[in-house]
Subunit: 366 residues, 2 copies
DNA sequence: GTTGGCAGACCCCTCGATCGAGTGCCAACG
DNA sequence: CGTTGGCACTCGATCGAGGGGTCTGCCAAC
């Protein structure tokens, strides 16, 4: 397992702690190689390192350093007479040494402006993924927060047929959960209305996470004619309410994947396939974010992924909203601009937190 | 403009009408070339045509026919000493001569079974796109029907802050429209409740397409304290209700695009980009389906598209539900198996219609 | 109209040679 | 001992030539 520390915060002023097997100069060489390779996509040779790193030594010296770096697994050589390419371990070390800077004010303002124009949580997250993908030119993903902690604001039960109904729950940020209810025996509109009233009385104001349990408690007390309906509602709410409809994943900029040369066509297909499996995708984003410190983005690089399809890609992900956590991030080839990715994810994440708070904050009366 | 007749129905028993510039044998040669090329991806030569078409003439004769076909623009030669490849016009002629057969019972049953397991319209369409993409190994898309003709079944107005509320409309198939309402001046819960009552009285049972107009009519009659809220509702419903949230496009199997060699990497990126623009996508599907006869799928091939990004792809699309029409289809490289695509789209479309009818049919009481 | 035959075009693969980038090693130097 | 310049070496990339194979277009004959 690779080092799982999160990216460093630029604010924390402790000196950069180098890995044991890297001295100052080796680290600098490694940094240069990663930066150059990310920028140009070409293996980088010793002379180029000397040039761009502005080191005051000869290329022969750098060659020695590079040999050491290769031996320790930080870089690799496609073939004997080629320059070096970072390994996953090399990227990892690079990222660990990286200071996550802030974004320039222009971009930061752009983010705030765009996110601020959203009317509700859903639109907000959709915008966030669009902004994130455009700024990074990577695939951007935003996982909606769980709604367990949110309060139930509205309950509706609409009959669609004599044995089917639609259950609607709205939370205090305006998110809507929509569940089909299949009732065993036909039920009249009147009974449906009565169930609706009971549900509204009991559920409104309660935590969304407690809905199922509450409904469960109602089934036994209820008069027998309402029981089949309540049982149906119980089973309709048994699955985590956040799944599927609410814990949606907003994906933007998939096309960017195709534009990247460094991703094999085959790998591309696999990644696209994975992106369609929203449940796995949400898990991967959440997990990756959880590996990092709170309010700092964290990267998973290449082989660090536990999902086979992502082994040639890197994911930078961060949690937002500590109370009811969602996560967001960008996905791209391991050869990505980690500096930009990390700081952009961080900036958008923070902007999203702020805007989300605004949305239910200032003019909230209850 | 290419020929815009829809695909032929196998049931219609009129003789196949050949294009003027194709006699029986030329058509047969063309058919063989398309079939072979679709199957193998290799340019097909005269001798191969003789073999697989089982023609009782020599390859020289076929060469003459092929020269004629090339002159008329049906086929093309990548280079002098290569076999022939169909042009878009060639594919078009091929498709026009194609009889849209039924699917084998095994597949047909599979489709019915899978679609039948869906609980509501949304799940149904999502399943349909998954089924369609798996059967064809192409990108499948299902555009939800417009809801103009559907009846309003429920109206709710939930306050989220003193100046923001959430408007919920549910139609008689259980689809939910969700609109943010920004009110000019703060409004009390009581007033909000009264507006809700007014809206419910006036809207329930009405066509969803008439909602905006109805609300518009209410604004002037309403007491002044309700007016800001009604105005806000009016502007929230001004946009077509079907757009965005309801007229969703369910896409499945994008990964298939990456797997196909015949699509340039560049083109792939463009297609992926277009797929993310759901509004355009819905329009293209609708338009393509509209070009064909009702209850028959229609193909748009390569250059027939008016969208630049799709010029190297073909789309097979069909309308379902004539009253409140949606459309569905598959997208892939022009070199696709049109026979399979056409019959599968047709089969899924019909199954979707049936299931959608069932969903609101048998046990519907109002 | 159809056919066999044939020359020609041209892709594809391989082979060899050359070029150049970049390396590893080594002896010398401070 | 770290650093350096020098040098031989490796190996991909590029180029051109040549052979094999495929498929065509044309033509004369049937």
């Amino acid at each position: 397992m690779a080092d799982q520390r999160g990216a460093r915060d630029a604010a924390a002023d402790e000196p950069l702690r180098l890995p044991e097997d890297l001295d100052e100069r080796k680290a600098r060489v490694l940094r240069t190689i990663v930066a150059e390779y990310v920028a140009n996509g070409q293996p980088v040779g010793s002379s180029r390192v000397v040039q761009t790193a502005g080191l005051d030594v000869s290329s022969a010296t750098v060659r020695n350093e590079m040999a050491a770096l290769e031996e320790r697994g930080y870089i690799d050589q496609p073939h004997t007479s080629a320059g070096r390419i970072p390994t996953d371990k090399g990227y990892r070390a690079f990222v660990d040494l990286l200071e996550v800077g802030g974004l320039d004010t222009q971009r930061a303002e752009l983010i705030d402006e765009l996110l601020g124009s959203a009317h509700d949580a859903e639109e907000l997250m959709s915008t966030a993924s669009a902004v994130l993908s455009q700024l990074t030119r990577l695939v951007a993903m935003v996982v909606a927060p769980t709604m367990d902690e949110a309060r139930c604001k509205l309950v509706e039960l609409v009959g669609l047929g004599t044995t089917t109904a639609l259950l609607l729950l709205v939370d205090d940020t305006g998110r809507v959960v929509r569940r089909s209810v299949d009732i065993e025996t036909p039920v009249t509109d009147g009974d449906l209305g009565r169930v609706r009233t009971v549900l509204a009385e009991q559920l409104i104001g309660r935590r969304m996470g407690d809905v199922h349990e509450t409904v469960d408690g109602l089934v036994d007390e209820a008069p027998s004619e309402l029981r089949p309906t309540l049982q149906a509602v119980r089973s309709a709410t048994s699955e985590d309410l956040s799944v599927d409809l609410v814990r949606r994943v907003f994906v933007g900029g998939q096309a960017a994947l195709a534009g990247d040369e460094s991703l094999e066509r085959n790998a591309l297909g696999q990644v696209l396939g994975l992106i369609e499996e929203r449940a796995t995708l949400a898990r991967v984003l959440d997990d990756t974010a959880a590996d990092g410190a709170d309010s700092l983005p964290h990267a998973r690089i290449g082989a660090e992924h536990d999902v086979e399809e992502l082994k040639t890609t890197s994911l930078v992900s961060q949690r937002y909203q500590v109370v009811r956590a969602g996560s967001l991030g960008v996905l791209g080839p391991t050869r990505m601009d980690y500096g930009a990715a990390l700081s952009t994810v961080r900036a958008v994440s923070e902007a999203l937190e702020r805007t989300l708070a605004d949305l239910r904050g200032p003019d909230q009366k209850n």
